[in-house]
């Protein structure tokens, strides 16, 4: 079955805290994120309240066939401001037990189909991916992103300086839905 038909995207709620903690506290799931695992329910609640819920565009990934619509990950799209308002940074995370089923690709395709209308100043989505992180590169490529280049020693992630591929998708690009 096409994974796209199994996915829902919705804003976060405070009641997502326990499901959120399952992947946000997991070293495997958070390995390529710039932030350290969230280890307490209190920290998770604070994060939902101050970051996830007021965020300009963050959507919890849920499975349609799950009556409770539990959060199993999220897609995050953060626009720039001022002269940088034409572009937005894309990030995502998925609970490790759901890896390898095309879920993030499906969620990203749904996100791409609505985000340009939601954020009208944004004409460019971009994502920075570590050179070693092949799975994430495949997600972007399958969602129609173009690899533009390699940014050498671009930034630190978890204490190590990284070479990062930069990918982009424009509002004018052909998109696979």
């Amino acid at each position: 079955m096409d994974p796209t038909s199994r996915i829902t995207l919705r804003p976060f709620k405070l009641t997502d805290v326990d499901d959120f903690l399952k992947y946000a506290g997991d070293e495997t799931a958070t390995r390529h994120m710039r932030w350290n695992p969230i280890t307490s329910r209190e920290e998770a609640l604070t994060h939902l309240e101050t970051v996830a819920i007021p965020h300009p565009w963050r959507r919890s990934i849920g499975l349609l066939d799950d009556d409770e619509d539990r959060s199993i990950g999220y897609i995050s799209i953060f626009p720039g401001s001022g002269d940088d308002r034409s572009r937005a940074n894309v990030g995502y995370i998925l609970a490790a037990e759901y890896w390898g089923q095309g879920i993030v690709t499906a969620a990203l395709r749904i996100a791409v189909s609505t985000v340009f209308a939601d954020l009208p100043e944004v004409v460019r989505l971009q994502a920075l991916v570590e050179v070693e992180h092949r799975a994430s590169q495949r997600v972007l490529e399958k969602a129609g992103f173009l690899r533009e280049g390699l940014l050498r020693k671009y930034g630190y992630c978890k204490g190590e300086i990284r070479d990062l591929f930069i990918y982009s998708l424009l509002s004018t690009d052909q998109r696979r839905i």
């Binding site: 710039r34 001022g82 004409v123 533009e148 390699l150 940014l151 050498r152 020693k153 930034g155 982009s168």
Partner: protein
């Protein structure tokens, strides 16, 4: 200016801080539409605006120098300073009065600037990058001659004077120039 002037015959190009006393030299390039074409700003029209820019942006800037010919500013060059996980990179910017274009002066200033900023920031800075408008071929040549690596074309990356522009990303690593 003598049109026969070539870089080999020019007295030394130097970099030094730019201050309010330099405002009249600053206005020469700041009022020039050719210079402002790919910059975020429109050509300056008042000396007051020039003074404000020097006082409020240049003086407090972490790294901003005048490009001098015979000790007189004919342009400017700067490198940003980031914090946290982004401190490893700085963004380079430069302007030069149009009368001095095409003589290799900016390339020289860029080489001097990157050497200085890598030495000053030590291991903290590993990458100097520059974003150049896809149509600004002259500036792309400056960076290529200065040894920068062209990493890719970033499509519709930034808004410049109301229009989104494609920008070319260039970088120079401390290891490229054998500093560290």
């Amino acid at each position: 200016m003598d049109p026969e002037l070539k870089i080999e015959n020019l007295p030394q190009i130097t970099l030094r801080p730019l201050g309010v006393a330099d405002v009249d030299d600053f206005m020469v390039w700041a009022m020039d539409a050719r210079v402002a074409r790919f910059c975020t700003w429109e050509p300056y029209t008042s000396r007051e605006d020039g003074l404000n820019y020097i006082q409020n942006t240049v003086v407090p800037h972490p790294w901003f120098k005048a490009i001098c010919l015979n000790g007189r500013p004919i342009g400017a060059i700067s490198v940003t300073e980031n914090s946290g996980g982004d401190a490893c990179r700085g963004e380079l910017g430069y302007v030069l009065a149009s009368e001095y274009w095409g003589k290799g002066i900016t390339t020289t200033a860029v080489k001097m600037a990157v050497k200085a900023v890598f030495e000053e920031r030590g291991e903290k800075l590993e990458r100097v990058e520059a974003l150049v408008d896809v149509d600004n071929v002259g500036s792309q040549r400056v960076l290529e001659k200065a040894g920068f690596c062209r990493e890719g074309l970033l499509r519709r990356y930034v808004v410049l004077k109301g229009r989104t522009r494609d920008m070319v990303m260039f970088s120079l690593l401390s290891t490229d120039v054998g500093i560290l």
